[in-house]
């Protein structure tokens, strides 16, 4: 059914090769390392574009292409081929990854120019691109798994890029471990899939589900397992704690991995597994709940953060919450989730780059309380960041408006109480988002200067601003373009088999226009509160005030998630470890050594019978004789 393409492998091969070269290469490569890296990423992007146009050239129903490479694992009927699959869903990611990726490569050339390990940095970036592409191109859950952990590794390496700072190393480790918890889910998912359907490829599982091979229990377990995986990778509740710390990485990394691409892999996984969730209602409900909780969770944390990157990270968390929630809303949701994912990719990446640019100008200061009034000094940054800001809070006609609005809409349409609750949550989320993003905006670019003495803010070089500009354009236009005549939905339709054509006429809880109105009001409220609190003339203390409500304190502590993990897992774990160490030393090895020393004691005890008195020896003889006589007597009775 599917056509094949021989080019897919190059998408992965090019950046992977470049990464290898950059890693193994000698210091001589330092001069050109960044160029090679950027070129590799660009090349991948070009390939992606070619594939995209080739795809558009085909009829919608057979746009998907595959490229079988080799048999990876085959044992009994467990048969996994290394095969690549490019369909409408993956192409979106391919373009996002390579496109935004390339821009960020370019940006990094300037941003990392002072770092003597720049070559290594670009190697890692390429490695990430390759892994992420493998993630979205793999045609089976197991191949996806490879990319899945691959991006985890890349993220680990990049978060810990400056791992000479212990805190950064710890952050990297934390991220990896949190991801591993999610990976457990993915492993289990693969196992369940294999046992239930005898296949781990997407198509195989899909057919299996169609054929009703699996009980609904099994399907819900499968769904839950997949959700766990998504939660880990996409920093959803309750595994979100690592994302904030992950900001330890260089800002371009935060933009690419922890905003635009990797963290959205969870959304990809769930959308990719739509055929499971469509029939696993419980799992689907879980998805919605997780999404809803996280979008508020992130938003609340976002309000309390003074570190610009952490604030943005919190908002990422929250925005992904939106997407996850959308995917949990069944066929209608996937497309919108994807749409929001893409738009978010643009504006959030743009804003991170903006933040990076600010830090660049403020010699790596991240505390917004030490910013202020930067709009005059960094006009380009200000404008691009501002556009991103408008996009994220969902002001029409910016990208965020279309995507987020749709999600709120379908949330309301979820029906019954569910609809009401979800709808209000999403609206509330929108309001809070508006508030904290405005807060970021105001604290950074408006108000009075609160700089450190040695700060000399200046606009960043072109290599950094150009990507920002391009992304800003994206955040303006993307939503509008996508939404034009539902073209995006229709484009993805063959993947999700969810006929949206009828969705216009479908019965709504509220008419779309009302929804938009509500959303905009929520936004307005949020913005106005922010202005009231941080607007013109309001003084912002250079250090976060301590005399704040317990809620603020809690929010600053990421809603205590770390403390919770600490109390629930780490400390008991450490205790257990200590206990086991003692057990091993004292009990098990002790038992062994005990047997040894016991034998020795017995030996020296029995030895005493050898008194040296010949008469006692004679006594033994007699004892023996009597013993034998007695035994014989007894036995012959």
């Amino acid at each position: 059914m599917n056509g094949t393409s021989q080019m897919l492998v190059y998408l992965i091969a090019i950046p992977l090769f470049s990464a290898t070269v950059l890693l193994l290469g000698s210091r001589a490569l330092d001069k050109v390392g960044h160029i090679i890296g950027t070129l590799a990423s660009t090349a991948a992007f070009v390939v992606g574009l070619l594939e995209f146009f080739a795809m558009l050239g085909r009829a919608p129903e057979n746009r998907a292409v595959t490229q079988p490479l080799f048999t990876w694992i085959e044992v009994g009927n467990f048969n996994v081929g290394a095969t690549l699959l490019l369909d409408q869903l993956s192409i979106c990611f391919v373009l996002l990854i390579t496109g935004v990726g390339t821009l960020i490569h370019i940006y990094s050339i300037a941003y990392m120019s002072h770092d003597k390990d720049r070559r290594r940095f670009f190697a890692f970036l390429n490695l990430f691109i390759a892994a992420m592409l493998l993630l979205v191109l793999g045609d089976s859950y197991l191949s996806l798994y490879v990319g899945w952990e691959g991006v985890g590794l890349a993220s680990y390496l990049l978060i810990g890029f400056w791992n000479q700072k212990p805190a950064y190393a710890t952050a990297a480790k934390k991220a990896f471990v949190a991801n591993r918890v999610g990976d457990v889910g993915l492993s289990l998912a693969v196992m369940i899939a294999f046992v239930q359907f005898g296949s781990v490829s997407f198509s195989g599982v899909a057919e299996g589900v169609e054929a009703g091979k699996a009980s609904s229990l099994a399907l819900n377990c499968l769904g839950a397992a997949l959700l766990l995986a998504a939660v880990g990778k996409s920093a959803q509740f309750p595994l979100q704690a690592w994302l904030g710390d992950a900001m330890a990485g260089p800002t371009p990394v935060s933009a690419l991995i922890h905003a635009a691409t990797m963290v959205t892999a969870g959304v990809y996984l769930i959308s990719r597994s739509h055929f499971v969730f469509d029939v696993a209602s419980v799992a689907q409900l879980l998805v919605v709940i997780v999404g809803a909780i996280t979008l508020l969770f992130g938003a609340i944390i976002g309000m309390a953060k003074d570190d610009i990157k952490k604030a943005l990270a919190a908002s990422t968390m929250s925005q992904i919450g939106y997407m996850i929630l959308a995917t949990g809303l069944g066929p209608v949701g996937y497309a919108f989730a994807m749409m929001h994912l893409l738009t978010h990719g643009f504006f959030k990446a743009g804003m991170f780059l903006g933040a990076g640019s600010v830090m660049h100008g403020m010699n790596d200061e991240v505390d917004m309380r030490k910013y202020g009034a930067l709009r005059k000094y960094m006009p380009v940054t200000f404008i691009t960041f501002g556009l991103g800001y408008l996009a994220i809070i969902g002001v029409p006609p910016f990208a965020g408006f279309y995507s987020k609005d749709k999600i709120i809409e379908i949330a309301l349409d979820a029906g019954g109480a569910k609809g009401i609750i979800l709808g209000s949550i999403t609206l509330l989320g929108a309001a809070i988002t508006a508030f904290y993003m405005s807060r970021v905006m105001l604290m950074t670019f408006f108000g009075s200067k609160r700089w450190e003495a040695d700060a000399h803010p200046h606009e960043s070089p072109a290599l950094m601003t150009i990507p920002m500009v391009i992304l800003a354009i994206g955040s303006i236009s993307a939503g509008f373009i996508f939404n034009l005549g539902d073209r995006f939905i229709n484009f993805l339709n063959p993947v999700f088999h969810s006929d949206h054509s009828g969705h216009g006429e479908k019965e709504h809880l509220l008419p779309p226009i009302v929804v938009s109105a509500l959303a905009l009001t929520a936004v307005a409220i949020g913005v106005s509160i922010a202005i009231a609190k941080y607007g013109r003339g309001k003084s912002i203390p250079a250090v976060a005030p301590a005399d704040v409500s317990v809620w603020t304190k809690v929010a600053r502590r990421d809603l205590l998630q770390d403390d919770l993990n600490e109390a629930l897992f780490m400390r008991p774990g450490q205790e257990l470890t200590k206990a086991l160490a003692i057990v091993d030393e004292k009990v098990i090895d002790g038992a062994v050594r005990g047997v040894g020393s016991l034998t020795l004691d017995v030996a020296s005890g029995v030895r005493r019978t050898q008194t040296g008195f010949v008469r006692s020896y004679a006594l033994w003889v007699i004892v023996g004789a009597v013993g034998i006589l007695a035994t014989i007597a007894v036995m012959s009775l």
Partner: protein
Amino acid sequence: MPTPKIEYGILAPVLVVLAAAVLAVLVEAFVSRRYRYVVQTTLSFAAIALGLFTVILNKDVSGRFAEGSVAVDGVTIVLQGTILIFALLGLLLIAERGFQSFTAQASTLPGSADEQRALASGLQQTEVFPLTLFAVGGALLFPAANDLITLFVALEVLSLPLYLMAGLSQRRRLLSQEAGLKYFLLGAFSSAFFLFGSAFLYGYAGTTTFDGIKLQITTSPGNDLFLLVGLAMLTVGLLFKVSAAPFHSWTPDVYQGAPTPITAFMAAVTKVAAFGAFLRIFYTTIGGMVWTWRPIIIAISILTMAIGTIIAIAQKDVKRVLAYSAIAHSGFLLTGIVAFNKSGVGATLLYLLTYGFTTLGTFAIVTLVRDAGGEVTDLNRWSGLGKRSPLIAGIFTLFLLALAGIPLTSGFVGKFAIFSAAYESGNISVVIAGVLASAVAAFFYIRIVVLMYFNDPQEDGTSVVIPSPVTAITIGVCAVATLVLGVFPQPVINAVNSLAMFVAG
């Protein structure tokens, strides 16, 4: 009254050796001191060699001779052959004159002027040769005896010389004399039990011949009091000889006190002889009583393994370690008796053969580790031997591994054969016990290896003397035998199995 018929040809091995012994006594009396040593050694070796030769001539014989008081059959042949080989090797050690093992004059007081004079005058101990020959003679007769009287006489002829030989050490004479005394008293004591037992067996059967007793048991089974008492007492006597617990107490003291060449001789020869008699009596004479005696022997066997291995762990003197290991091996050998089946006989004979070589070799090496004051038997002073003389340490390690029953050594072949025989008879308990005991035993053998290789030598004058040819030959032969029997045991196994038959009837 017809004259009794004596088959001299078939009894030749025993007769030759005993005759030589008598001759040797005369030599002591009439040959001048200067030539005595030469004459005695030649005589002894000649006698043993001749004996061996006659044994080989007898190899196809199977029957009862000397009016049924002696049984010569495959088992006897094998045992006598083994005994003579070991006697030969033992004699080589005894004949070693590179260093004095024996007191010049047993009668002189330790440290007295007489002793000094005796030493100074270059007196050389040669009484030991006739004594050895007598012991060998007894040993040859013991497993062949087919009659309680013969058995008793053989036992005494074997034992009495050993009591004396145990006391002949030149160094540490007090220890040596004490060993002699203990051995003598306990030996006599146990032979009293033996004798009392024989009396009751005679009372039960009305005859002293094994065949008569066997016949009586088969024809009128049941638990006659005389039979049971006799059986028990006789067993005590035999168990004492093979130093099975709880009749083992003499072994460590005697092994340690006696001159090392004698210890080697005892350890190899008496064990073979005693187990030979054990086999014959328990497999044929009182075989009908197996259900009575098997549980006892099982218990004794396990007890012996346990006592031997466990006490050995706590020893600090190499000769005592070896003594306790000898006890443990008696325990293993008893499993061969327990087996009470065709393969049991062959296995026991094979085990005796392998064990004899190894144990002779170990004691031979002990004679080489010396300082100014004679042999050094304190284990701590053996540390670093591997550095001091790698060859000797290596060979000693080989022997220890064989004693521990590590594969590719003779010890393993023996253990395997004897345990599988016991397993076959369904007495898995002894096999398990044996295996566990081997595990424990491994510990103290390895401890010595560690000592020799991983500890640094102490500078206390302990050194390994270069052995004169006689000892060197012994060690060489034993080492080779230990290896060959471990790697290519097939021919020997075939030979033993083909011969391992008791005379029918």
